[in-house]
Amino acid sequence: MQKRLANWGNYPAIASEETSFTQEDQLRTFVSNHKDLIARGNGRCYGDASLGKHSISMLRYDKILQFDTANGILETQAGVTLDQILDIIVPKGWFLPITPGTKFITVGGAVASDVHGKNHHVDGAFSNHIIDMDVITGDGNTITCAPDKNPDLFWATCGGMGLTGVVTRVKFDLKKIETAYIKQTQIKAKNLEDVIRLFEEYKHYTYSMAWIDCLKKGDAFGRSILIVGEHAKPEELTAKQRQAPLTLPAKRKLTVPFNLPSFILNTLTVKIFNWLYYNKNLKREINNVVPYEPFFYPLDAILHWNRGYGKAGFVQYQFVLPLEHKDGLVKILQRISDKGWGSFLAVLKVFGNQDSLISFPMEGYTLALDFPVRKGLFDFLDELDEIVLQYGGRLYLSKDARMKQEVFWKSYPNAEKFAAIVKQYNHNNTFTSLQSERLALTK
């Protein structure tokens, strides 16, 4: 069916022929007879990575195949979303080894983006937890791969944005938990120096990230709230919570029912919001025990929050810079704060080391923030790209909708190698996306 598709940023939007399937052989036949395909999960990547002429909707390929509750191993078809998985595993005392800031992504999407979470510095990215997986490659064959089985396909598929083929089945390990709660600590940081020092001081915590105010100048430049946490132990819960430590109380969902007019979001409203957010914490440090949902997925509580940016959509700009280039981070933050176009709070995190072929994370600082699409934005982001390049950083392909191709080829050290593997499995450009064309990864 011809459909208008856009991912989470609502930019870009295209007309695409969408196909869905429930049996693997249906998909294999389809792949062998078509070109210009791209697999699409729940549309939560922000840009154009899963947009193409023909999209393969994975959402009906959503069966849980095996759950080893003794050893914490889960095997699923790739279209299952993380929120469904959490509903199944948390009551049995298991948690996702890695989760991004939304639970509304598919397992296949987690692989294709090689997603990271607040625990990257401790547990790595999603690829670090995959036992094995199946990929339907360009010739319509299913190939099983793992770090020690067809490793070239495995590493080019993790973070490979769907260009090696369609991920259909994934087996991965889970994390043992005793409760569905997180013991969190929030610490206010006066400025960028302060928060970077705090990251170092709190690096032994499993989970950490900071909300950073990108608009603040002067002494309070980079003021933040560092949030760290650990899975709570039963004795840390209240008596009432302890009665059912693995069950969360039901919560109501809010939604943004339609696109808000874009004038609502301006420098003033964002400044007010950031002020409120920073100053809601009266004390410098707050310690409490919270359900896992608000800790990991604060924005999931507001369905369709992306509509808050209006009809023109937004792009999320996420880059990483090597640890030794804190000065680059300062430079970029200054540019953003001078421009005053950034929106609400941005997220700052320190990544740990990761060996990978094409995945985004590397040891260093990563900053993510939203920019509503407007005139001049892309020129401004091109300028930021130059700084990222200059300091040896790179951009996250899952968020990207506009990077120039030379920026990609210069910033990903394994780009050539990745492209060669893609060519090997992606026969005759069976799989192409707007992004792969834009970055000249296919054709």
Binding site: M1, Q2, E18, T19, S20, F21, T22, Q23, Q26, R60, D62, K63, I64, L65, Q66, F67, Q77, Q84, I88
Partner: protein, 243 residues
């Protein structure tokens, strides 16, 4: 635990119905031409909902096998839902009897064959419930799909007669008219969003309709009135339309 048999369990709609029933703690018997293809769904139901699910080979067009199939089930199901159907290619079916026969056998003859057997068992036992997924296409023949429509018309009439007969044996029969549903069967069609249901919505409607023992259920209420109008267009006008 109560149990439900789903005939034609490979379709998107059937999968959604299976999940709906499993979420209400029914044991699920899944039947389709290739039982093997249903194993992922079987695992899924057992892991997600902690129920027992079984898979069975069932070919709607292999009439002779139906009695043995029903006898082989792990238990006589409390509810039987007949979901299978085949839209087919109308133009091909006009010229090619094998396509026409496949449409008729899947949507009508095959359904009659298996439901006759289920009905006998339920009538003898004096309990049970049969649900048939028919189609609004069966309410009036249209040039674009009258072979499918006529088979579904036959099925609708069959269900109505069966309901009448089994009422006296305390067995309930429900006819379900889903209207457009967003499934693999219809993915090549451009459907009006307002009139198109998601499989999960159909599944919920089927579950509630069965629980409330409805006789005829339109999943989206609009369809009841659309079909009322379509049924009442005088034939002299209707035949001139290109529907």
């Amino acid at each position: 635990m109560p149990s439900v048999l789903i005939l034609g369990a490979g379709s998107d709609m059937a999968m959604a119905i299976a999940r709906e029933y499993a979420s209400h703690q029914y044991d699920i018997q899944l039947a389709a031409r290739s039982g093997n293809a249903l194993v992922p769904l079987q695992q899924d139901l057992q892991i997600r909902y902690n129920v027992t699910a079984s898979v069975h080979d069932f070919d709607a067009a292999a009439f002779d096998s139906h009695a043995a199939f029903f006898a082989s089930l792990p238990a006589v199901p409390d509810i039987t839902i007949c979901v299978f159907g085949y839209l087919g290619d109308q133009e091909k079916a006009q010229r090619d009897w094998s396509e026409a026969a496949r449409i008729i056998h899947t949507n009508y003859t095959g359904a009659v064959s298996i439901l006759n057997i289920v009905a006998e068992a339920y009538a003898q036992r004096g309990s049970g419930l049969i649900a048939g997924i028919s189609s609004v296409a069966g309410e009036r023949g249209r040039m674009s799909n009258y072979i499918y429509g006529s088979a579904k018309a036959g099925f609708t009439a069959y269900l109505s007669g069966l309901r009448n007969r089994l009422f006296h044996a305390r067995v309930h029969v429900i006819s379900i008219q889903p209207g457009f549903v967003n499934t693999r069967m219809t993915q090549h069609l451009t459907l009006p969003p307002l009139l198109t249901a998601q499989p999960e919505a159909v599944a919920k409607a089927v579950y509630n309709g069965i629980r409330k023992k409805k006789n005829v259920l339109y999943v989206k209420w609009h369809w009841k009135y659309i079909m009322l109008i379509i049924r009442n267009i005088p034939e002299g006008i209707f035949k001139k339309l290109k529907l």
